[in-house]
C-alpha cells in the first residue's frame, strides 16, 4: 500500500502518472506525521478546521485524509482572507470556541500569540517534530515568536516571476535576471504592443499588504534588503529599500493599466489571456496557466526566480503571504487538534496538495520542494522555487505587523499615484514603523 493510501489520501492521486511506488515507500519512514507509529484513533471526535477561502480545496484534502486515517470528523470552515484575525479573535473571546485548528498568515503570528489566540506548542514540537526537515528560510518566521513556537508551517508561499515566452520570443527577450532587465523588457513590450492591449508587466497595486506589499517586497528581496534588522529595527530608509521603491515606480508606466486598481482578479486574467507579459505571483499560477479552461497561454509561459538588483546577486525567496496551522486557544480538544496540525503540515500531505490543482499550497519542506513528483507536475515552477534555498526576505510578524504593513501599503500606493516621491514615502513609513515598534 502506498504511503498516500496509509495516510488516507485520495486514491486518484496514486494513479497519477508521476507517482512511483518506490519513491512513495522511500518517503514513508521519513515523513509520516506519526513517525513509525500508526495513526491515532480518533473516532467520535469532531474537529473544526478554519482555513482561508483560497485554501478550501487543500483544506478538504487534509480533512478527508485525516478522517480516513484517524476516524475523526473534520469540518472545513472557510473565512475570507482578510478576516482571519477577526474571526479567530471573536471566536475565542466570545467563548464560542468553534475553531480547533486555524490557518494563520505568518505575518499575524505575533498578534495571535500576543493576544493569546493560539496555543504555545513549543513542548509538543520539541517532543515530536523534527524542525530541521522544514525549509529553514521559513521555519522560524512562520512559527517562532517571543522565544516560543506557536504552530507548524503549512503553505510556503513565495513569489516567482512568470513570463510569457511567446511575447518574449517576438522581441528576442530572455528571462530577466535583474530588475533592470525586467524594466527593459517591460518597456520594450509595452511600447511595441500596447496598441493591441498587450503590456509588458502586470503590477498588483491594490492597496493591501498581500497585493501592493508583495510587489514591493519582491524588489526589496531582489535588492538584498530587509524589512527589519536583526534587532528588530526597521530598515525602510536603507539603500536597498529606496532602490526597491524606485524600481516599483519605474515600471508603473509600462504596467497593465492601471496598477492601483489591479488586484488578483484583473491581474491574473491579464496574464492568463496573454495581455500581460510578466507577472510576479505565487507558484500556483503555474498550475492555472496550464489549465485550458482558464488559460490562453498553455505551454507559452515560463517562470524564473525573483530578479536581483543593485549590488545583490543572490536570488532569494520573498516570503509573501505564507501560512501555518495552529491550535486555537478556544479548542475544546487541543490534543486531537494537534494531531490535525501535525497531519496537515506533514510532508506527504504537503506534497499531495502541491501537486493538486486549485489548492494553492506551496512547499514547506526541503524534501517536497525537491521531490520528483513535484518536478513531474510543475518542473518550471520547481526550478524557480529553489530560490528559497538561498535564503529569504521575511516580513514582519510581530504584534504590530498588521498596522505596519497596512501603513506600508498606503505609502506605496501614494508612490504609485505620484503623490509622494519614493524617498518621502519610505521615510514616512520608516518613521511610522519606528513609532509603532516603540523605538
Amino acid at each position: 500500500m502506498s504511503l498516500f493510501e496509509t495516510m488516507g489520501l485520495p486514491n486518484s492521486l496514486t494513479r497519477r502518472r508521476f507517482l512511483a511506488t518506490g519513491a512513495a515507500a522511500g518517503t514513508a519512514a521519513a515523513f509520516s506525521p506519526w513517525g513509525a507509529h500508526a495513526a491515532p484513533s480518533l473516532s467520535g471526535v469532531t474537529l473544526n478546521l478554519m482555513v482561508i477561502q483560497p485554501h478550501v480545496v487543500g483544506g478538504r484534502i487534509v480533512a478527508d485524509g485525516f478522517e480516513k486515517a484517524t476516524g475523526a470528523k473534520v469540518n472545513v470552515i472557510a473565512v475570507p482572507n482578510d478576516q482571519i484575525l477577526e474571526k479567530v479573535t471573536l471566536d475565542v473571546q466570545s467563548g464560542a470556541n468553534v475553531y480547533d485548528v486555524v490557518d494563520y498568515w505568518y505575518g499575524l503570528l505575533g498578534a495571535f500569540a500576543h493576544d493569546g489566540m493560539i496555543v504555545d506548542v513549543t513542548d509538543r514540537i520539541a517532543k515530536e517534530i523534527d524542525g530541521g526537515a522544514f525549509l529553514q528560510s521559513l521555519y522560524d518566521p512562520y512559527t517562532l515568536f517571543d522565544g516560543k513556537r506557536w504552530g507548524l508551517p503549512y503553505d510556503g508561499d513565495s513569489h516567482v516571476l512568470f513570463y510569457n515566452t511567446e511575447i518574449f520570443g517576438r522581441h528576442g527577450l530572455k528571462a530577466p535576471t535583474t530588475w533592470d532587465e525586467y524594466l527593459t523588457a517591460a518597456k520594450t513590450i509595452t511600447e511595441a504592443e500596447k496598441g493591441n492591449g498587450i503590456f509588458g508587466a502586470a503590477i498588483l497595486g491594490r492597496k493591501e499588504p498581500f497585493q501592493i506589499g508583495c510587489g514591493y517586497a519582491n524588489r526589496l528581496c531582489g535588492f538584498g534588503g530587509e524589512f527589519l534588522d536583526k534587532s528588530g529595527k526597521p530598515l525602510l530608509d536603507s539603500d536597498a529599500s529606496l532602490a526597491a521603491a524606485q524600481a516599483f515606480l519605474d515600471v508603473a508606466p509600462y504596467a497593465f493599466p492601471t496598477p492601483l486598481e489591479t488586484g488578483y482578479e484583473q491581474g491574473l486574467p491579464a496574464f492568463l489571456s496573454g495581455k500581460a507579459a510578466m507577472m510576479e505571483f505565487w507558484t500556483d499560477l503555474g498550475v492555472n496557466a496550464q489549465d485550458p479552461k482558464v488559460s490562453q497561454v498553455v505551454d507559452k509561459w515560463d517562470v524564473t526566480q525573483i530578479p536581483v538588483g543593485g549590488s545583490n546577486t543572490k536570488h532569494r525567496a520573498s516570503l509573501d503571504a505564507g501560512f501555518g496551522l495552529a491550535i486555537s486557544a478556544g479548542s475544546k480538544n487541543p490534543d486531537a487538534a494537534w494531531e490535525l496540525v501535525k497531519y496537515g503540515c506533514s510532508a506527504p500531505v504537503n506534497l499531495a496538495q502541491m501537486i493538486t490543482p486549485g489548492t494553492g499550497i506551496d512547499p514547506v519542506y526541503k524534501s517536497t520542494l525537491e521531490s520528483e513528483e513535484y518536478r513531474k507536475v510543475a518542473p518550471k515552477v520547481q526550478a524557480a522555487a529553489q530560490q528559497s534555498l538561498n535564503g529569504a526576505l521575511v516580513w514582519p510578524n510581530g504584534a504590530q505587523a498588521a498596522k505596519m504593513l497596512q501603513g506600508l501599503a498606503d505609502q506605496l500606493a501614494l508612490i504609485l499615484d505620484k503623490s509622494k516621491t519614493p524617498e518621502k514615502a519610505m521615510k514616512d513609513t520608516q518613521a511610522m514603523w519606528v513609532e509603532l515598534l516603540g523605538g
Partner: protein, 310 residues
C-alpha cells in the same frame, strides 16, 4: 376638506384624561422599540464610548486607559479630516441627485404610460441586487483594460488610451457616485411614486380645468404638497449615504491613494485590518457627531415644510 388629510406637526393634544388613564398601555406600545434600541444601540454605544477612551486591540480590549489619546491623534490626523470632508462631499450631493432623478422617474411612472407596471418592476432591480454584486458588476464595466466601457470607447475610436475609471480622480469618485445613484435612485423613485399616488386628485383636477399648464401644476401644486415627503426621503437617503461602505470596498478599496476613502471604510480599516479598536471607536464617535450636526438643518427644513403643507 382636503387640508385635514395632511396633518402637520402642530397637532391637537389628545385628551388628557385618556392619556394619563392608560399610561401603562401607552408604555407598552413604546416599550418594544425602546428595549430594541437599548440592546442594539445603547449598549454598543456605551461599549464604543468606553473603547474610544482606551487603548484596545481586537484581541486585547481595554489594555490601558489613556483617555483622550485617540481623540487627540484624530485631531492631528489630516487624512481623517479629509475623510470626513470627503464623506460629506459624497453624502449630500449624491442623495440630492438621487432625489431629483427618483422624483422625475416617479413623475414619469405617474403619467400612465403603457407598460408603467413593468417599468416599475424593472426599476426595483438595482435595489434587489446585493451590494457586493453591484460593485462587481460596475467593476467589470469600469475596469481599464478589459472593462466594458473602455472596450466600447476604444473600439469606437472615442479614446485612444483606456481611461482608468476606478484608479484616477475624479473618475474614481464619480464612478462610486454613479454606482450609488444606480443602486439607490429606485428607492427614491418607488417612495415618491407612492406619494404621488396618494395626492388628492381634486386639487390637481381643478387646476387643470382652470387651464394651468403641466409645469405650473408641478411647481406650484405638486411639489409643495409633496415637499415634506421628499425631504423625508432625502433625509433618510443622506443618513444612509453617510454610512457608505460596500461600494467603496468593492469598487475602489478606498483608492486611488485615499481619494475615495469614506468614513465607514476608514473605520473598517482601522478596526478590522489594523485591529486598533480604540481608535476605530473614537473615529466612530467623532463621525457620528459630525453627521448629527450636518443633518440638523435638514431636519429643521423638514419640520418647516410639514408645518407649511398643513
Amino acid at each position: 376638506m382636503a387640508d385635514n388629510a395632511v396633518v402637520d406637526d402642530v397637532i391637537r393634544d389628545p385628551p388628557r384624561a385618556l392619556i394619563s388613564g392608560s399610561r401603562p398601555v401607552i408604555w407598552l406600545l413604546v416599550a418594544p422599540l425602546v428595549i430594541g434600541l437599548a440592546i442594539f444601540a445603547v449598549y454598543p454605544f456605551i461599549d464604543i464610548l468606553a473603547l474610544s477612551f482606551s487603548k484596545s486591540s481586537l484581541g486585547r480590549p481595554f489594555q490601558k486607559w489613556p483617555l483622550l489619546t485617540n481623540y487627540l491623534s484624530l485631531a492631528r490626523d489630516e487624512t481623517f479630516r479629509a475623510t470626513l470632508i470627503r464623506t460629506a462631499l459624497f453624502a449630500i450631493p449624491v442623495p440630492l441627485i438621487e432625489t431629483a432623478l427618483g422624483f422625475a422617474i416617479a413623475l414619469l411612472l405617474h403619467m400612465h404610460l403603457r407598460g408603467a407596471g413593468w417599468i416599475r418592476g424593472l426599476v426595483l432591480l438595482p435595489l434587489m441586487t446585493p451590494p457586493m454584486m453591484v460593485a462587481t458588476a460596475w467593476k467589470l464595466i469600469l475596469a481599464p483594460s478589459g472593462g466594458l466601457l473602455d472596450g466600447v470607447l476604444l473600439r469606437s475610436g472615442a479614446i485612444g488610451q483606456p481611461i482608468s475609471f476606478l484608479g484616477t480622480m475624479p473618475w474614481a469618485f464619480l464612478s462610486v457616485a454613479i454606482a450609488d445613484i444606480w443602486q439607490w435612485t429606485p428607492f427614491v423613485a418607488i417612495l415618491s411614486y407612492a406619494a404621488l399616488q396618494g395626492m388628492p386628485e381634486d386639487i390637481v383636477e381643478a387646476a387643470r380645468v382652470d387651464g394651468a399648464s403641466p409645469s405650473r401644476i408641478l411647481w406650484h401644486i405638486t411639489l409643495p404638497m409633496l415637499a415634506p415627503t421628499l425631504l423625508a426621503i432625502l433625509l433618510l437617503r443622506v443618513v444612509i449615504a453617510f454610512k457608505l461602505f460596500d461600494l467603496v470596498y468593492g469598487l475602489t478599496f478606498g483608492g486611488p491613494g485615499f481619494d475615495t476613502t469614506v468614513a465607514a471604510f476608514q473605520v473598517w480599516r482601522t478596526a478590522l485590518t489594523q485591529f486598533d479598536i480604540g481608535l476605530g471607536a473614537a473615529q466612530t464617535i467623532v463621525f457620528a457627531i459630525l453627521v448629527s450636526v450636518v443633518i440638523l438643518p435638514l431636519t429643521w427644513l423638514h419640520r418647516f415644510s410639514e408645518a407649511r403643507a398643513g
